[in-house]
């Protein structure tokens, strides 16, 4: 019985439209995160050095490793800069003959046109963007050195004890020594927010027409007089939920595979609270655990969306009135996605900032699922006694 309902949902015409919508949505909103990652300089250097750190020292960076990395790389990059300075006459023209000369001009308030040209030479392709490499090494150095002070400042500003305890724990356990690069994190967040919006859209488009199509043509009366009787609505709810689960799985597999080409999976075991990352997380999780949690939340939200679509479909007279009801709901769920999936599980999350509740993200997604599933089940139960004529 459920199988027949599934066949009605997964019809070729709707699947074609869903595929088209997904492709267009990907091109409009998501391809940016693949085509432009890492996005320019010094993001490229930051990503490359974090990869190197991870390769050499594993998911955390200890004090001695930090000293070794900074000094070795600084020397290497300065030597590279010197080579470019000596080989290109543009530097000699403005009296730059060494790294120290270059830095002196770099710090000048109003450099001349020729000096500006020389400065940009080390920031450009012809010099392999070598000055950006130095800038990144200095950034890593400063971040590692200043991070405990930054956490202490946050502790001084924190208004609740839980945050103070968490920040204290980060300092005591040196959790901030995790190697997790912010460009990777920002990119993942941006991509996953859009994937969540796309999944909701796809679930709405796929499962919504099932009930209303039957009801618009009074097929449900025929179904109710069959052997299965009014249990059909229960089966339809099951088919809707199953379809949402299958579609979400498919979308996660397809768009996850596309995302894996970015190579961010190397950070799988890296802790998210890191001296190289922006937000501070409310508990100690790795990038891999963050992805798994995101997937669980996405499934929950998509199943909640499917239950919502089932309800609106049950109470719509035709497909157009159904769309008129679904559009505001899609807008609400889009806003919800922006709040839930932007910096989730961190102190930067807007919902956390507004309500101060740890774990607000699963609560919201779980709430949507439980409320709409409970209401759907209530109406499925009520359908057994309702007057249909």
């Amino acid at each position: 019985m459920v199988w027949y309902e599934l066949r009605k949902i997964w019809n070729s015409r709707i699947l074609l439209v869903v595929a088209l919508l997904c492709t267009l949505f990907y091109w409009l909103f998501m391809s940016f995160y693949i085509d432009f990652f890492p996005n320019g300089h010094p993001a490229i250097e930051e990503f490359e050095y974090s990869n190197e750190l991870l390769d050499r020292y594993g998911p955390t960076l200890e004090e001695d490793e930090y000293v070794e990395f900074i000094s070795a790389n600084r020397e290497k990059v300065i030597a590279e800069m010197e080579r470019y300075i000596k080989s290109n006459p543009v530097f000699a023209k403005v009296g730059i003959s060494s790294y120290e000369d270059y830095e002196r001009v770099y710090k000048k308030q109003n450099p001349t046109e020729a000096e500006t040209e020389a400065l940009w030479t080390l920031l450009g392709k012809e010099s392999n963007f070598v000055r950006f490499k130095l800038q990144t090494i200095e950034w890593i150095e400063n971040q590692y050195r200043d991070y405990p002070r930054y956490v202490s400042e946050l502790m001084a500003e924190a208004t609740n004890q839980k945050e103070i305890d968490r920040l204290n724990a980060i300092l005591e356990t040196k959790e901030y020594t995790n190697i997790m690069e912010w460009e990777v994190y920002e990119n993942t967040v941006g991509y996953t927010v859009y994937l969540a919006i796309l999944s909701i859209l796809a679930v709405f488009v796929l499962v919504s027409p099932l009930i209303v199509t039957d009801r618009a043509r009074n097929v449900h009366l025929l179904q109710y007089s069959s052997k299965h009787g009014r249990k059909i609505l229960q089966k339809q709810l099951l088919a809707v939920l199953l379809s949402a689960f299958m579609l979400t799985t498919l979308l996660i597999l397809i768009f996850g595979a596309i995302y894996s080409t970015n190579g961010t999976w190397v950070f799988w075991h890296s802790g998210m609270t890191s001296f190289l990352n922006g937000p501070i997380f409310l508990f100690d999780i790795t990038y891999g655990q963050y992805i798994v949690l995101y997937i669980v939340l996405l499934y929950t939200l998509c199943l909640g969306t499917a239950a919502m679509a089932f309800l609106f479909s049950r109470f719509s007279r035709n497909l157009i009135t159904l769309i008129l009801k679904l559009m505001p709901m899609f807008a609400v769920l889009t806003v919800l996605c922006l709040y839930v999936f932007n910096d989730p599980f961190s102190m930067n999350n807007s919902l956390y900032k507004a309500l101060g509740m740890i774990g607000i993200e699963p609560l919201v997604c779980g709430g949507v699922f439980i409320v709409f599933l409970a209401v759907s089940l209530y109406f499925v139960r009520r359908e057994k006694e309702v007057e249909v004529i």
């Binding site: 919508l21 199509t213 618009a216 157009i320 008129l324 009801k325 559009m327």
Partner: protein, 385 residues
């Protein structure tokens, strides 16, 4: 005419339609609710006494207000912002904008010439504006950019989106009504037969335009009751305080082809908005004729609009055909909708046409009307058995 009214009644008695309109209105109210700018309201209130033209009389009246003891932080800010201002159009060169666009896009030949022609024509407009001291008007002084963007970009943009969606859905509801209710065979075998499409189109288009107009009326009633505009309605939108953010050429003045006050620009935007909503209605009608299932038809409506945006983005601009597609795509309803914030101006790097919004609207209406005629002819011969 009787059928027209019956069709209109069918559409406007739908609770879901009014529920959607209410949801849109609520959304607009949320935007308006977060839009308060006390300084802009202050500027508008002061301009009732000073006038909106930045001439000698303005400064004298402003000084008198300051002397009368009405000292406030906002008054000082206004005096500071208006002190010693000069006409931004005096000696302003537009040629370099066109040249920069050509350099960045790498366009050559016909399109490069069109771009240069556009900016040489704009130079005449700028000279005229300079002669008339058009930029020496107050608008909202330092709060101008924010408030201009809020009304003409954010609020108008959402209103157009809502109008396009609701009008498209009303057309699809009307066109698919018989199919939805299984009354096709009866209706099409009557004396009127498939000619019923005419009153259906007229009813659904007028319902769509009517709902858009109602939504705009209610939204702007609320907007103008919350935000003060009384003293500045006749101020020019090309005020020296108004500017455009252009990532290619840098921030530059807001130059319109014609001299618009805030009021006339607002009316022109509304008129253009109605035209654009009509385009989306016609597009939905054409699709509704080809695709009988109204749910699929709406999804196709979305896909068609998305394709219009995606194709110019995906085709490499290094190819001449890529540039041609990009420049012609601007004349489609979807791209016109996306560019609503720069209607009646010279446009941006994607636009080589003078008066692109008017040209785009005319082209869209002609093409979509032809599409509808074709679709109706196809529908009349369609076999329903």
């Amino acid at each position: 005419m009787r059928i027209y009214w019956h069709e209109l009644k069918k559409l406007l008695t739908s609770v879901a339609v009014w529920g959607f309109v209410a949801a849109c209105l609520l959304f607009n109210i949320v935007i308006i609710g977060n839009s308060g700018d006390k300084y802009a309201d202050f500027v508008s209130a002061v301009s009732k006494d000073t006038g909106y033209i930045l001439d000698q009389s303005f400064y004298e009246k402003l000084a008198r207000i300051a002397e009368s003891g009405k000292q406030s932080e906002y008054l000082e800010q206004l005096q500071y912002e208006t002190d010693g201002v000069t006409d931004v159009f005096e000696g302003y060169e537009t040629k370099s904008i066109g040249e920069r666009y050509i350099q960045v896009t790498g366009s050559t030949g016909y399109f490069a010439k069109l771009m240069l022609d556009k900016y040489s024509a704009l130079q005449k407009v700028v000279n005229e504006k300079a002669k008339n001291d058009e930029s020496l008007t107050l608008y909202f002084a330092g709060a101008t950019h924010y408030r201009h963007q809020l009304l003409f970009s954010t609020l108008m943009g959402w209103l157009l989106t809502e109008g396009a969606l609701v009008s498209g859905l009303l057309v699809l509801l009307s066109v698919g009504y018989e199919q939805i209710h299984g009354t096709e065979s009866i209706v099409y075998s009557t004396k009127k037969g498939r000619q019923v499409l005419r009153p259906k189109l007229a009813a659904s288009v007028s319902a769509g335009l009517g709902v858009f107009a109602l939504l705009a009326l209610l939204t702007f009633l609320i907007y103008f009751s919350v935000n003060e505009y009384e003293g500045v309605w006749r101020s020019s939108v090309s005020s020296l305080f108004n500017y455009r953010i252009d990532l290619v050429t840098g921030n530059r003045p807001f130059i319109t082809w014609y001299s618009f006050s805030i009021l006339t620009y607002f009316m022109a935007m509304l008129g253009m908005g109605l035209g654009l909503v009509l385009c989306f209605s016609l597009l939905a009608f054409g699709i509704g004729m080809w695709v009988r299932n109204s749910y699929i038809a709406f999804l196709v409506f979305l896909v068609v609009n998305a394709v219009t945006v995606v194709i110019p983005l995906q085709i490499p601009q290094t190819m001449p055909v890529g540039l041609a597609i990009k420049y012609f795509a601007v004349l489609t309803p979807t791209l016109l909708w996306l560019k609503h914030g720069i209607w009646f101006t010279d446009g941006d790097i994607d636009i080589v046409w003078k008066h692109f919004e008017t040209l785009g609207l005319v082209v869209s209406l002609v093409v979509l009307t032809a599409l509808c005629v074709l679709a109706v002819n196809h529908f009349k011969r369609k076999d329903f058995t």
